[in-house]
Point group: none
Chain length 202, copies 4
DNA sequence: TATGAATGAGAGTTCATTCAT
DNA sequence: CATGAATGAACTCTCATTCAT
């Protein structure tokens, strides 16, 4: 009830040991993704997440002891998927010109964000750990820079570094655009962005 | 036809009649801007806004009957300033090449966002009126497009339209970048963005 | 919602500014005393306190932002009363023999504890601030020691110091005895305690 | 007359049949003692007890179907140890003067309480059965009274009865003092208590 | 029996908003 | 208009206890 327990609050999401638990966790993460995507991090409630997962509130808290921890787990999960996607992309486009590589990246990243709308919602929440955020961005930038230095002709490492920041933000901008603007504007804008990238890397 | 009571909650914030009231409203708006910028829209509390303005909670509600209405008023206020800024810019840079115009736009818009951090916080809140949001974006795009068609040589209207979307997002990206990444990365990225714009409009 | 606010959690109970508020606070404190006394600190609920005071839960939290703070306020309140009582006692018994002084102290302190059962409940809660607890005990010991050194013949300061600890605990023991044991045992035990004190100071 | 199902929750903790079970129970009791002592009865959680015993929560409930029952079992366990200790003491000090007997009692009881901090925590919980509590206290008083009537010269039975109450509380006071006050005060106070007892029985 | 997931009532706390003075 | 007390729905989180495997 009161107590300053010895178990730090920095605890991670508890991993399930049984098969049943594993299914629960999956359902909870899916529900979390849906609710965070729909309502945004702040407005999402743990109660709704549990309900949408068909679980009791206690069950949700068994595996994700706090709301930030649920968000974090979800974020990490999506980040892994994204990394895998970029790795795959790297193998697919190695040796092609930078402009083409970027075009492909743009397309696939866009699909990912569209398929995982929770990602944007989670990436932007304010109570995220500063350090982790920095690391995450650095990691993504690294992957993008690698794509550029692996192009043919290769983009010089220094410029690839700087460009990765821009590309990252451009992609994010493209996503936000998807949800906010109306269809006709959107199409033209996306085309324009690709053109811009092409011009930039030509 | 005659009465149409103004008790609707959808109405705008009540305008003060006395001079004292005007000062109050200014203080409340300033406080609101500060709190929204610091905590974000969701985490900001009406109580804190009132306190920071040196007013009572009742007084705050006298002028802004609702939290969304306060946000809206603030947003509109900032939007006006921004519009004025872009108008001025239009006069200053008329007749110069598109790339130069964009560079200047980039710089001034950036300054504005840095000076008014509440703008970003308010532009992104989820309960904003869809229609108004659309209109706002359209208006901003119009202003930017006007800058482009007013350049020398003029950018064709159709392309200016499409480009304005991209430019708008790029600028926003530049701002987010300012608060998230560390200084060295930041500088390089900003330079890169300007280079990109230059390449695009060359 | 999220936020690490700048307003420290060490805040004190907010003081009411209006007359109505003053009445509320009094009612809340009284209700708190009743509930803490009846259920003990841990089992007492804020909801019950508010209900017993005829106030809404929000109203309770307006003045006492946390449960520990309510307890603290109550404790301090009772402590003041007790100090006043001991001061008065000091004036009443100055110049009488130590044994008689202690007998009187024993009686009045007992009455106080019986009239304010919340005092025991609050003095024993576990999440109390260590430092404050020490200070409180020291203060009480000081008052008791003063009674002894003010007796005729005066008890030497050093011995008064040590004795005060014992007396304090004896009195508390007497109280616990009142609530736990059955009446006949109680009477005999109280008499015995007084005899013990008399023998000790003779 | 015949069946009387044992499903009542008022029953005692189930006794284990196997050797393995006996070890489990011992571990659970030890863990319970540790947790109750550290956190107090209310703040202690069944989950933490199970964890500290290296058992699952289900296993804990197998043997102790309820939190109060666990506390009760523990309390009884400690009470037995204490009784044994007092019995032994009775044999050791028979025939010595009352003051010396009390001094020895004081010392050994103190050691016991220090070695078994859970005892105090459990003796004070509020949901304890009133009747059992009374019996327990009566039993302890009886043992102490027996020590006094067995002294040389023997304390009259009536006075021994009354004195036992006082002595019991004095000892408890001595324990509480150990955890709350700072070392220097403590030493002096303990000495003072012994002096008081000596004066009382002289 | 042992395990650990499941449950849900209930506790503390927050905050937008209303209302009496 | 100003003030600050009042309200209560809603939220996050806890924990004793039950249940399926």
């Amino acid at each position: 009830m009161s107590s300053q327990t010895s178990s730090e609050k920095t605890m991670t999401a508890k991993a399930p040991r049984l098969e049943r638990g594993r299914a629960r966790v999956a359902a909870l993460l899916a529900a979390g993704a849906a609710v965070f995507a729909e309502k945004g991090y702040d407005a999402a409630t743990m109660t709704e997440v549990a309900a949408k997962a068909g679980a009791s509130i206690g069950s949700l808290y068994q595996f994700f002891p706090t709301k930030p921890l649920l968000a974090e787990a979800l974020h990490l999960d999506l980040l892994e998927k994204l990394t895998a996607l970029l790795d795959l992309l790297g193998r697919d486009v190695a040796g092609r010109p930078a402009a083409a590589v970027m075009d492909e990246l743009f397309a696939r990243f866009g699909e990912f964000l569209e398929a995982n709308p929770a990602f944007s919602a989670l990436a932007d929440r304010r109570d995220i750990d500063k350090e982790r955020k920095k690391q995450t961005r650095a990691q993504l930038r690294g992957l993008i820079a690698a794509l550029l230095t692996g192009a043919e002709p290769p983009v010089p490492s220094a410029r690839a570094e700087a460009a990765s920041v821009v590309v990252l933000h451009l992609i994010r901008a493209a996503t936000m655009l998807k949800e906010s603007d109306e269809a006709p504007v959107r199409g033209a804008a996306l085309a324009e962005m690709r053109r811009m990238l092409a011009a930039y890397f030509a």
